[in-house]
């Protein structure tokens, strides 16, 4: 318990809120947290929990390409991520592959391309590492606005297509027979996931982005008795993890990304034991 000694428990939220970089971190963090929690629910129910991890590897390849060509990294990563997400959906339907196989193929190709490019130009720079591990306190104004815009778009998308997406997650064949455009819905869901990961890589980093997509949603699914309740719970768990993680990171000087992820895992443990008690 020695690590608790160094914590400044008296750090005031009011004082922290006065700093612009903390305001940006909190707003962008909450925006990405809400988007990932909601998208994550649909991904988990479609058994595509690893899509975040796979897209993260692909985006690494995109970032390496941007660094090699001296281009702006985020737009390049975004384009590569969207193309790859569409490619995965196509490969799945055309080659009759399961989701995990398509994700594995694309993610390994993305990672291999990234490693090759980085090695060829011999530039494993600090910039690339910052995308891998994230730095929520270094988020600028434009990135905050983009994250907020994404959150609004994701919430609107889910509000409009809520029943269709739930139908698709629960029973894809019946949804298709019902006349829903399942391929288009799947592609939209994957593209939004790709955009969320690209914008979230500054917050928790590519390597930990899967956690924001998976852990709050998985925690909510442990205890919710309806899908609507799962949506609210996932958003609440994600938001609290980000706020508490950020506060704890500032109080302790721990890395914010890792702290956010570990706090969300505590929520998962809590919901797991609550569920276990309910079924005992």
């Amino acid at each position: 318990m020695l690590f608790l000694i160094g914590i400044d428990w008296g750090i005031s939220v009011n004082i922290l809120w006065q700093y612009g970089f903390i305001q940006r971190a909190l707003l962008a963090g909450l925006a990405i947290g809400v988007s990932s929690a909601l998208l994550g629910l649909f991904l988990l129910l479609r058994r595509e929990a690893m899509i975040g991890h796979g897209l993260g590897h692909i985006i690494f390849g995109g970032l390496a390409l941007a660094f090699c060509l001296n281009l702006a990294p985020v737009p390049v990563a975004l384009i590569i991520a969207i193309l790859a997400s569409l490619g995965m959906t196509k490969l799945k339907s055309r080659a009759g592959l399961h989701s995990d196989t398509a994700i594995a193929i694309f993610s390994s190709v993305g990672m291999a391309t990234g490693v090759l490019l980085v090695t060829l130009v011999n530039r494993y720079g600090i910039d690339l590492l910052s995308f891998l591990f994230g730095d929520i306190l270094a988020i600028d104004r434009n990135e905050t606005i983009l994250a907020l815009a994404l959150a609004i778009f994701v919430v609107a998308f889910l509000f409009i297509f809520y029943h269709q997406l739930l139908f698709l997650a629960f029973s894809p064949e019946s949804a298709q027979a019902f006349g829903l455009k399942t391929n288009q819905l799947e592609s939209l869901l994957t593209i939004l996931t790709a955009i969320t990961i690209v914008l979230g890589m500054k917050i928790v980093g590519l390597l930990l982005m899967t956690s924001l997509l998976v852990i709050p949603a998985a925690s909510a699914l442990q205890i919710a008795s309806s899908f609507r309740a799962s949506c609210f719970l996932a958003v609440i768990i994600s938001s609290f993890s980000i706020m508490a993680g950020l506060w704890l990171a500032l109080a302790t000087d721990w890395p914010a990304s890792a702290t956010i992820v570990l706090i969300s895992f505590l929520f998962f443990l809590g919901s797991f034991f609550k569920r276990k008690r309910r079924f005992l």
Binding site: H163, L166, E173, A175, S225, S226
Partner: protein
């Protein structure tokens, strides 16, 4: 319901998985008011045939017309309700209530999260029809297989289809519940005027509820009325004894 209205017409339909023929030269018409059983052994092409009717598989040879329109230009898919063979094979921990399962179909065309009082009533009413009144808020995973199947029928019925297609709906359901289930389908057919297409292995049901039979073994080897079927060679072959043709219609 228009007398002798042709709802589904299949003409010279053949289907192949890779090079292997599954359906050959099928000609079949389903009329309004039919309670049609599609019978046949495993691998006879029953599921493939209904998937083609539902537009889930492409037509490789032949033609299919739904409500008088070629299937390629058909848009009114809500006129067909479908309960797939794997309906009850979902994750039992899926966090959806009975109400949410039915709302998937009811609201998929509306693109809205919220529900009005009237739409809630529609859900309650449809649950009453399938005998699950008052179970709106129960998570689907907590129901028995028979009850789950009724929820999926309710979901298929909620957008008022004219044809209900069911693929082996009584798999894993005990005999008593099966009987209630088929009685419910018969009520839907007679009282609500819904045409029913049922894929089944269960020859026993043939004499109790249906009015038409189609026997499939890659080719359509029999298609006719229930009465004719009961005295046909096919039926004698299927039950193995020609002198036990029981007919007790409700």
């Amino acid at each position: 319901m228009i007398e002798n209205e042709e709802l589904i017409v299949i003409k010279e339909l053949s289907f192949y998985y890779d090079q292997k023929p599954v359906l050959l030269d099928i000609n079949l018409t389903i009329w309004a008011g039919d309670f049609l059983a599609i019978l046949g052994p495993n691998g006879a092409g029953k599921t493939t045939l209904i998937k083609i009717m539902l537009g889930l598989l492409p037509i490789k040879k032949g033609q299919v017309f739904l409500f008088g329109q070629p299937i390629k230009s058909f848009k009114n898919w809500h006129l067909l309700g479908y309960v797939p063979q794997t309906a009850t094979h979902f994750d039992p921990l899926f966090p959806a209530t009975v109400e949410e399962i039915i709302a998937m179909a009811l609201f998929s065309r509306k693109r809205l999260w919220s529900r009005t009082k009237e739409e809630r009533k529609t859900i309650s009413k449809i649950l009453e029809i399938v005998g699950l009144q008052g179970k709106e808020k129960i998570p689907i995973g907590q129901l028995s297989t028979g009850e789950q199947q009724k929820v999926f029928i309710a979901r298929a019925l909620v957008h008022k289809p004219r044809v209900l297609i069911l693929d082996e709906p009584t798999t894993g359901i005990d005999a008593e519940t099966q009987q209630q289930f088929y009685d419910m389908l018969q009520q839907l057919n007679i009282k609500n005027g819904i045409t029913i297409v049922l894929v089944t292995h269960d020859i026993g049901i043939v004499n109790r509820h249906i009015n038409r039979v189609a026997c499939l073994e890659g080719r359509l080897i029999y298609h006719g009325t229930h009465e004719d079927f009961c005295f046909s060679e096919f039926f004698k072959e299927m039950i193995g004894r020609g002198d036990h043709v029981i007919s007790h219609r409700h």
